[in-house]
Amino acid sequence: MSIAVLSQVFTEARRLMIAGSVVARGDFRLKKLIPSLEQAGKQAPVFAKLAETAHAVIDGPEDSSAASLLELTSLVNAVLYTQGETGLGGKLVPIETTDLGGAMMQTSARVLKPLLESLSSTGSGRLELVKEAHGRGQFRDIRLIKPALGALDDPYPEIAELIAEKVLPMYGKAILPELLAKYDQKGTKGHPRRLKLMYAIDPVGTRTLVKAALEGGSKEVKVVAISCLGTDAEDLPYLVEQASAKAQDVRAAAYQALAKVDKPEAVTVLAKALTGKDQVLAANAIEQSPTPKLVDLLVTEIRAGIDSLANTKDKKQVSATVIRTNHFLRSLSNRDHAAAETLLLELFKRREELQKIKGDSLSGSDVIETVIYQMSSGSKASKRAIVKAHAEVPADQLGQVFHAARQVLTPAQLYDTFAPYLTAKVDEKKKGKDLAWAQREAVMNAIHSGSNYYFYWYHDDEDLEFDDKALPKYDPRWLDLAVNLKRARLIHALARPDHTAAKAYAKAEFEDALKKAKTPDDVRDQLALMMRLVHPDRIEAFFAALAKRGKKTSYYHYWFIHMVRWLPKEAIPQLEELVATIPENEADNWLEAIQELRTKA
């Protein structure tokens, strides 16, 4: 079959269909093909038919030109449909696959559709849906990969970041071609994310792209590209050059990358930056750096700054030096570095001298504050030093000292050292102006911070305790003291279900409050304390408090629903009875809370 003629007829028929059949009569280009068609028609009748139809188009009456042309195109199309090319020459190679690291899922359309829509549309409420789907492992359905890749450009950055950081990396190299196909180094928003992701998946393969982005990428892409540098020796000159770039973002990225390179050239650039306008950017970079030489740099700068304070008369200059020193001190966080520790101990010893230095906005006392803060989270020796001087530190930092003490003293020592602050004689009227009052509050607040007193306001906070589980438990005498002092919040923080006196106190407080209560809010904190102490009467108390709502329900009482998960499972039947009596719109929230309680381990 003469495919070439067929193709030509199709092309001409197509041209005439585009131009309109009014111009088809006498068309010489189609006419030229008729002899070839007639020739071919001797062997295959379909060509003869085509020739006949083409004649009708060219020579037929004008009023039937449309019908003839349609007939011709239909016929040629029908023949061409039987001539479709299949197959492909060349070597068939296996597909490179990526193990998704776990079983694949096949989810039903009803579940997938809303998820697909949230990945490809705009509007509120999508982040939750995507987070939930990620949590349930639904992104293991391979059909979600393309939409997830598209979501890198989501106008809501939180969705795009979640997808880029949590979802897409699990597909590995399999998504590289798609990432590359969509990547535009001149682009913004999704494109820096693409480069970052490609680099995370395949650092070696992406190096060319990184280099190209450094040359001609948009500012955002360039910043990401710079952050990918540092692993190769040839990067160094470029990074040094970029540390003097005009754009601050570019300089910051260059410092970050240089901080990862343990080379004298890199140290020189950062040392210079610490004395110039980029001191904050450089210090931030050093904070993340594993290189000890850079910490030495910081230590030298801090010491020089402090030494200069003694001779500085200008108060503005003093404040500027304090700001700079504090920033550098904060960059020493989490450093196991001998010179840094020595510096902190030295500055702590010099606190009297520092106290005397006055600036216009910040003074020497602010340096002491930062030093104590850093020491409270520093080495054991640092912690011991500030604990030993607990009576001398400013009251507003006693809390930090207390936290440090919990890590270096035994529970009994901690009690013996700090309990006297709670029983000391204070002037309640003077409040903060009285040192003993301020010290007592500081210690109590430090203990309070270990528990979630307002747990009922939040739905997501699973734990009642924020206390570091690695820390030793409090000495039992603390709770006795709290009950004696009748400090409800302190009891809440130190609560133990086995403390009879605390339970009796909580119950009495609740009953007392209930008698006076006009709304449930009046017994909220008392009820919370009973929950915290796992009081055997807490179900009864819960429903007694609920009864204070009367017939009208209020949005402001949603804390009740949050408290449900702290009830025992025995409360479920009673809760279900309750749900049947409350309005439909509120019932759904209760149902969710009951379900949560039911499934609670």
Partner: protein, 484 residues
Amino acid sequence: MIPITEEFVDAAAPNADAGKNGRGLILKKKFNKLHISAEGDLLFGECQGSGKVPYQCSADFARADQPTYRCTCPSRQFPCKHCLGLMYAFAQKKPFSTEDVPADLLAKREKLQVRVEKKKEEATKPKQVNVAALAKKVKTQLDGIDTLEKLTHDLVRIGIGNMNAKLAGQMAEQAKRLGDVYLPGARAALYGYTQLFADDDGKFDARANATQSERVYTEALDQLGRLHAIIKQGRAYLTKQLEDPNLAVPTDTAIAAWLGHAWHLTELKAAGLVEPDAELVQLAFNSHYDAARQEYIDTGIWMTLGNGRIRVTQTLRPLKALKYIKSEDSFFAVAQVKELCVYPGSVNPRVRWDGMIPRPLEPKDLQTIRKHGSSDFAKAVKEVKSALKAPLADRTPIFALNFKTLGKVGEEYVIEDANGERLVLTDAGMSEEPASCGVLPLLPKSSFANQTLIARFRHDLDTRQLRVKPLSIVTDSAVIRLTL
């Protein structure tokens, strides 16, 4: 009674919200009474609604494959959340007491029984046709065909290149009239042409059309060819019908559907287009929104295990009636159908059924599917080409292909059979389903050798290439769905 599982109730729900609300009723303890008949084929109960009087709801499994749901609530969703809640309660093993069937339900059951019997009887009787009225309708349709011909010829005279937004809009207005002359299918085909000149939302935008590219020309050409075929075949079909003394609808051609004839199951049964005791497995499912038609189209692609034929189910859900029409969903079990009605058509005709009983999909079912796949690509391609040359054929037929290797040649994905025949995989031109080639590298290695590919063929008129879009891969342990 068939065992009711929560999955069964999920599938019966018209949409995800109805299912969720049904479950909520149990948790909210809205069911005052939960009963089951002594025979175990009727669940009934009382559910407290917003009014004083509780709703009486029931799920009747007297016909196991076609449960009857009844409720006194005013909801137009079917089954309503109360019936769904009742079934969820049963699936969750809530206590159901055995009670006598209430008199009103008994009466309704009897009525239903009578109706079913009557229907059966009617099905055996020759259908009474008002010949005069039907002849009038057919004549009107023939007049409509003349109008369609005039419009189509006008379009050809003007030329595809001279189409603009204004003209397309006017033509769409004209097309509306075809619905008034009982030719909704022809109207849709004309819409199909005008929509080529519209934007993604189905609106005619003059600015967009001013820059109309060559891209749509070939597609427009094909569409006009179809209109030409509808006119020719439609006229012949209607004339043939008019010549028949009973004006019976010819069942040997798919043109009736193109003209917009809505087949009744009784018609199909009467015409013998029925397969008894069929078992079907869903191979793929997609739901897409057609902006031009303003409706969702849920398409299921199924294989009948007995004969290996691939057929489709279609549920059209217009936006205006979205709430009242059950959305279809992926189906992972085997559907056991007593009477499978098959529409006239060639490669993948549409199918429908009245009732269905699900059973779990087993490895032997997957073996059967794989056995039905075509291991000779050349033969399958010949079959496809032969089907495609008919102007009104489905342009994207679906086949099951047993491949030896799935691999890559350059950047293209390719399947190869045992004889070394190859087919190239593509996503081009088939936008109803999401692109699927991109997910192939994420499949386990074992999916790339000696498996069955459920593939949609498409001939590209511009490139003259016949390629396939992968929909699913059937292995001996699963149907891996690649599209949605």
